[in-house]
Symmetry: D4
Subunit: 222 residues, 8 copies
């Protein structure tokens, strides 16, 4: 079997191909990374690469990876040039949502977009959002990450005119339903114009934010 | 078939038997009301009595009912004596939740409890809750009624020390899932100590509030 | 009960308050519209106003409404000034998705944003998308509306760098699950950076597109 | 990232901030506990702290924790002063529900509320409830904990005038659906005025009971 | 299309073929009844025959039907001979469950089995079950019919040694989930040896009771 | 809006475009049929056209339709030439499945394929399948249509070497779950090599059978 | 905490109390078994006792247990006297269902009822059922155990007049849905009078069979 | 317990009995393989045999198995003779779907059918399908394997006249719902005549393809 990488995706849509590692065996990852690092077409992002799986990858390949454990991401072949004058606010409701937030921040970094993280400002202590709303509103797009009831999304959506990309997380138990409740609540939000991505999908939220602020440029890796 | 009314329920638990009309045919309702009005044991509450069904009930019986259309409730044989020095705040997120709110307010009235309705203060316009929170906090218990994302519950729960009884409503479409999303979000709320009742169950919320503020008294009808 | 309109929402977040008519009785709508038309604070959008419900609204109020039946929308007090140099492509997979598309187009019109409708270009006949992709890509944001398998979203997402807002529709039967399958497929799309709104929510997609292209301006009605 | 603890929550609502440990990594817990024990603002409750995770926490911090293994709870900085003349009955249907019951009892202890545990009195052997009902009814509020069919809730609800807070548990298999059946049955109970919290949420039930019996007091730790 | 009636079913398994009318058009029913009444092989039971559908059946055929409206059942060609010395208790939790109970009682009557109906004895008023348990226990099998929380099943199952066939009903709203909660609770009951049939399936419960008490006999119609 | 018919589909894949009428308004259908009958490119199949909707279509258009009420199908512009030496067995478990069976038979007729209907041979009376299995096995493909438990699929699948296309139907109530149980059972069948289409999708089963027996031919309408 | 064993259950309903070990910790089991073996009131059945958990029970207690690994059951204090002239057929569709079948057979043995196991006779090879049906029909009750599509239940139900207790199993993957599909199919079976117990509940099926064939006797342990 | 192998299945339906190893213990597998290898009736296929389970099988039996780890399949007693002039295209959307694809390819090999694998051609990079469609169309049947949104199925279904057997995979997270979304999308596909098998069921897809191209032959093993 030979892999059919979509090498020209970043020329076509501004976003490069990315390797989702969770469903792939180590031998398959080894073969993919070998081919990619040989061709050197463009920087590549790996997501959901656990510490354990990384340890079992062929050593010369591992050395080429810029790995970040809390987010489970790695860069192969550098990253994309900085997008000037654009930044994203990444907001989380609780500290249990940080893993997903790191995936978003690292993906934005890979794509060349500045991001600032506003952690732990759930609405059960409303003053936390009130204290930060002005700073949040200075960014071009807002990624808001929350599990359980996701109530922060509706409150924030009523306090900003900026694009809001909501990411449900699988934090919680019982009626949190592995993030399904947060997702449903975000989509049924009483605040207008909230759009959501898949549960725990920090990567997808970053890509959506990139589409919002980005421009399709012929970009070459640093 | 003869009905086995639980006549002594209000002596046993302070709350009287109640007739849920939705699943019962008109002939069955006629026979029940006939027997109840003959025995005159205590005031009886009817819920989910639609305008159409009420119209088809035997006329002499209808004249004995104190009916309130927006809530679909009726009293037979008066109501219970006033519970002194106790009141409940009934809060709704939107004006589509009013039907359920009326059911709660009327049930409280039947049980002898004062209530004040705070309608239409969803958190997409946060100032509405901020304007009313002090007045809400003056009551002994809070019934909060919301559909869709139910975000108001978590915000309110973080601003009050009073018992909060949350009622999800079936308002909305798609991922609102007929109230299931609101229910799940309420139970997974990041605010501590929120308890919920069934979807659209204004009656149940009023009974739960009565348990909170009430005392089991030998009470006789007015 | 008095309504607590969020009159200043468009000053706060650029998007005005909107009245969702499906869950509201005609008497409630009459009272709301009376108050709104008396205060004349800003243009108001009504959604999900069926032909039947509109017919039962108080006549002097109806005359003030700019009603559009296929989309179920009405404007009260005009619309917002034109947003210059911005437009949105509204794409549908099938002709059964047109009702939702009209809701999106009318909401954009109300908000002052130009839109072009690309109808009926599902991927079972791939040439339809190929024929239109260049024209679609000329817009600032893309709303893509599809039910059932929603396959068009992934294909389109791989052919454009523009922000893509996906709207699942409740078209279909059986495993289409009232739009849940389309929603889930959109969120699990293999194309990067797709964000979705609630099932059948053309209004929400338009608001999300407005956030993407809009700027929060002190705007006064025409 | 710095944590934004809601230090003043107990002044605002009578209930303090609490740390849910299940979704948090050991490094994050270490940093949180260090900051909290340095600031010494008020006693803190930790929930869902497994034996294994506790073992991996920084040793000087562990020594400061008052840990209770069967409930997975720990107190940092003591507990709240005793609430006089108030007590809660904690009732379980089976001995498999004990873990959740212990979480409730320990949380009540932390909040300064007396509790008595009535274990193992499911209604398949009805005499067990009949034997204990009088003693249960002497308390100010009743927390009833049950999985599977949760039938005890309806029977108990028909025998008491006290506030009943129902906690579904994830005990059982097949159609017990991880506690969803118990939750649904509790909310659809034929007994009036039952309110429920999330599945396995002994902590939340204790907080709800505290709201019922508690008063918002300026309280300082023992 | 010609119908392939399973005429010999009652010889094979003691239970005759039955016509479920809900999913069948009136023309199809007319053709079926014509053929059946011409062949006169054995008595036939019709279930779920609504008043409206019955009115539209060919008049000469209607006259041959022994119809009972509250249960929606009809007999064609008489019924089966009496099964001596056997009887079934049919117990319902509420008066909303009566329709299903009537279907069970009529099916038992058709099969020649005596039945006694114990209506309206839900456990929120426990004395009702206590008053009737001795009489219920005198029968050979017990059909217990309940919706919502179905708590009566577990209590009854702990008070009888007789075979218990549980029938969930679709009574209720919200978390009653159209009978799914009652079904799940019955199957997860803490009382041992409860078996259940489909939601609202009074007919099936009667057939299961017949299997329990019946014997396969060469039986000919009265 | 102009429609983008996929006129060349039958040249591309042997199957023509088809109009699913359920989600389309009468004005839209009128415009579509007008355009199609003017262009006369090839025969067109309409599905899910109810008697009521047909009555409201523009009269000159209705006269051009070859309509068949029990299946809800109509042909516009004739049908496709006969496929020689090929036939399909259409098997149903019960007489309530006939509507779906007629949709399959009519679609096959439209596509030029012979079909024979074997109705009402559910496995609760096993002799019915045993009597017909030899005749069924003489066909080139088998469409088997069943609701509820769909047990016939596994039995039949163990008695034939021919391609089996299973169609779940929405017949039944309660745990039949609108056809979801039948679908799940078909896909989890213990017989090897069963493939299924959507619930009630007689049209899709016929198309799948056509793919199996058909050849892509340049075909012109009769 | 002291346990409240329902010691008199077998006097009340003929079936003794049973200990479900899955949800209980080893310390709790030790304490329970110590108390039970000290009181010696009657034989006790333990279910879902894994090899691993058994190994960790206090050694003197383990020696008192009559343990059977494939079924995960153990007897403490012997078993109940033989029920004369009664036997149960235990039928499985596949060899993956054997674990559940063994639980049923061992429970029947504990209760004093003879059982014969008919394994591996799924209907994809119909001759296996045909070969065994006569022998199966010689028993007083039939427990039929099947996962996935559970088609055997409907076929068997059409070939026997005996009471049929159906047990769904969690065997399979995908649309088998952990046994939910088998359960739903059994309850929606086209064969009349099938009753079902919970998924994988061999114990419950045996108890239901005991109710069918048993009589409530004052029984003392062997 | 003795196993009742369906030895004559391949004579009856062309497809042999197969052993699904996931739900079976090692002792059971040992006994089955011993009996099968002694009787030598025909080649046998084992599926879902993990590396770990294989290691624990009795050594003399293991040596008789032709095992292939990536697919988890093994042949006992060789394979079936080659089916001449027939081949199947096996298409996957991503490289995470390869395990399921290998199961299909190995099953086809066992049955004597040629197959060619087209891996990694998801429609987010549409050129990959366009490049391969001509080669795919040269085969007699197409197995298409995809998880998440499964969009490739609808695009491919609109570009081929060949029988399409769709296999959903459990790849992905969140709204991918373990393959349920892919399954639902495939069955609701806008392309006509797609049939699907169970989630991850490469074996079943191969059997369905065999039914399509195969003929029931008296075949003896190589």
């Amino acid at each position: 079997v030979s892999y059919q990488f979509d090498y020209f995706r970043h020329h076509r849509i501004g976003l490069p191909e990315c390797i989702y590692c969770e469903g792939k065996s180590v031998p398959i990852l080894n073969r993919m990374l070998t081919e990619l690092s040989r061709k050197k077409k463009c920087p590549v992002l790996l997501t959901r690469l656990s510490k354990e799986k990384r340890r079992r990858i062929h050593a010369p390949l591992v050395r080429k990876l810029d790995y970040h454990e809390p987010s489970g991401t790695a860069f192969l072949g550098g990253k994309f040039p900085k997008v000037p004058k654009a930044s994203v606010a990444v907001v989380t409701a609780g500290s249990s949502d940080l893993g997903v937030a790191y995936e978003a921040v690292r993906t934005l970094d890979f794509l060349g977009v500045s991001a600032r993280l506003f952690a732990d400002i759930g609405v059960a202590g409303l003053w936390r959002l009130e204290k930060n709303i002005e700073a949040i509103n200075r960014h071009d797009a807002i990624i808001v990450i929350a599990g359980m009831d996701a109530a922060i999304v509706s409150v924030l959506g009523g306090l900003t005119s900026k694009p809001v990309i909501a990411v449900p997380t699988s934090v919680g138990y019982g009626t949190a339903c592995g993030g399904q409740t947060a997702l449903n609540a975000m989509l049924a939000s009483c605040a207008p114009g909230i759009a959501a991505v898949n549960i725990d999908n920090g990567y997808g939220a970053a890509c959506a934010a990139f589409r919002v602020i980005g421009r399709k440029l012929s970009r070459s890796p640093r």
